[in-house]
């Protein structure tokens, strides 16, 4: 027996928010954003945001670091969840890696959005 009115229900919760903010984020956007940021001089940062939960970010990062010969880290952002941060402009490489069937993640290219100039 449960009384409908007494249930705790947050009307301001995000729609489709089941367990945590991260899944809802993925459901909402579904996009993987690859961005670039300028640092000092001609240095840049590449961030990969919104990778599907089924992948282990650490392992991905390890492969990426080896493959693209760059350093990188996983940033745990409060809003965006886990974001892979890479040194240098790796947008092209990362995009190819994510789509690659053989040794990549076999993701759909449609879900990837590359930002920046």
């Amino acid at each position: 027996m449960s009384i409908e009115n007494l249930k705790t229900f947050d009307p301001f919760a995000e729609a489709g928010d089941d367990n945590s903010g991260q899944t809802s984020r993925e459901n909402q956007s579904g996009y993987i954003h690859i961005r670039i940021q300028q640092r000092n001089g001609r240095k840049t940062l590449t961030t990969v945001q919104g990778l599907p939960k089924k992948f282990d970010q650490k392992k991905i990062l390890k492969v990426i670091k080896k493959k693209f010969a760059c350093n990188g880290t996983i940033v745990n952002d409060t809003e965006m969840g886990e974001v892979i941060q890479l040194q240098g402009d790796q947008r092209k490489d990362v995009q190819e890696f994510l789509v690659d069937k053989k040794e990549g993640l076999e993701l759909d290219a449609k879900t990837i959005k590359v930002h920046g100039f």
């Binding site: 954003h33 961005r35 670039i36 940021q37 300028q38 640092r39 000092n40 001089g41 001609r42 240095k43 840049t44 940062l45 961030t47 945001q49 940033v75 952002d77 809003e79 965006m80 974001v83 941060q85 240098g88 402009d89 947008r91 092209k92 995009q95 190819e96 290219a109 449609k110 879900t111 990837i112 959005k113 590359v114 930002h115 920046g116 100039f117």
Partner: protein, 318 residues
């Protein structure tokens, strides 16, 4: 300031991968080609969006050409432009006459005229294009001035007119009364190239943003927001409404982002017309309404997304 352009190429290689820099005269066309095909940012973004970007690039090819030309120098634009136009006109009309292949290459004017005359002698077709370009029609079999409505074009004439002549008339009239319809899609849509100046070492000034926004009929704020989100930086507007962007950016890079903005927020997806309006719909959603076909679509709000901490941590905390 004078030696800035020389500095740019070296510094920008990291951002514009595999592309030579625009400043040289000869290189301009080559970069233009790479623009559409293997731009570091575009070629590998998701195909759907990419295609549309490419489409726009193709659509605005005239624009791009003009952009570069203007950026380079104004001279020589006029006459070549005219020539282009003539060739284009010829293409429109003569494609209907199945002489497309012959006519399509942009010939010099004499050549073109010679071919025209040849075509006129061969068939009944020369009336329209010639009247359009030279106002002196070499007469064919089906004669008459289609603008004035004489000869076979007279209202009470019962002589059957063949299809090609009719088609000709259609295009001629269309071209006369609605030149923007007759010319191919995006050709009439031009935005001035973004002017980028460097302020100091770390800032870029986007000088003519107001003009560009006016041309696109978008607010400065919206465009600015998009630029900042895409470039992953921040900035401000200075006294004379110029945009100051943090970070080093080249004209080409800004242009790429603008192009993407146009695809996303300016062009109508249905009829590709850039004559659209962006306004806020009922519930905080933005809608693009096309002025030429009346279609309405919602566009995504601009999201900044994750931005990493750049620069000194101490300063950020303070």
């Amino acid at each position: 300031m004078a030696d800035e352009p020389q500095l740019k190429p070296r510094k920008s290689v990291a951002f514009a991968e595999g592309q030579t820099i625009v400043d040289g005269d000869g290189q301009i066309t080559s970069t233009m080609q790479t623009n559409g095909e293997k731009d570091s940012a575009e070629s590998h973004s998701k195909p759907e969006g990419d295609q549309s970007v490419d489409e726009v690039t193709a659509m605005f090819e005239g624009l791009a050409k003009k952009k570069k030309k203007k950026a380079k120098k104004e001279e020589g634009e006029g006459d070549e432009d005219g020539e282009d136009k003539i060739a284009d006109d010829g293409e429109v009309d003569l494609s209907a006459l199945k002489k497309k292949k012959k006519k399509k290459p942009k010939t010099t004017e004499d050549d073109f005229e010679a071919k025209l005359a040849e075509a006129g002698a061969g068939g009944d077709d020369a009336a329209a294009p010639a009247s359009e370009e030279k106002e002196a029609a070499p007469s064919g079999v089906q004669d008459g001035d289609l603008v004035k409505g004489t000869g076979i074009w007279a209202h009470d004439d019962t002589k059957p007119i063949n299809y090609e002549s009719l088609l000709n008339r259609f295009f001629t009239l269309l071209h006369d009364s609605h030149p923007d319809l007759a010319s191919s899609g995006g050709k009439s849509y031009k935005i001035p190239p973004p002017q980028c100046l460097r302020e100091g070492n770390k800032k870029t000034i986007f000088a003519n943003i107001a003009e560009i926004c006016k041309r696109m009929k978008r607010t400065d704020e919206h465009v600015t927001q998009f630029l900042f989100a895409e470039l992953g930086t921040s900035g401000s507007v200075d006294g004379s409404r110029r945009l100051v962007i943090k970070g080093r950016f080249q004209q080409k890079q800004i242009e790429n982002v603008l192009r993407r903005y146009i695809v996303e927020y300016v062009t109508c997806k249905t009829c590709r017309s850039p004559d659209t309006e962006l306004n806020k719909g009922e519930n905080r959603l933005y809608f693009v309404t096309c002025n030429s076909c009346g279609s309405r679509r919602s566009v995504t709000a601009i999201k900044t997304g994750f931005s990493a901490q750049v620069g000194k941590r101490k300063r950020q905390r303070a």
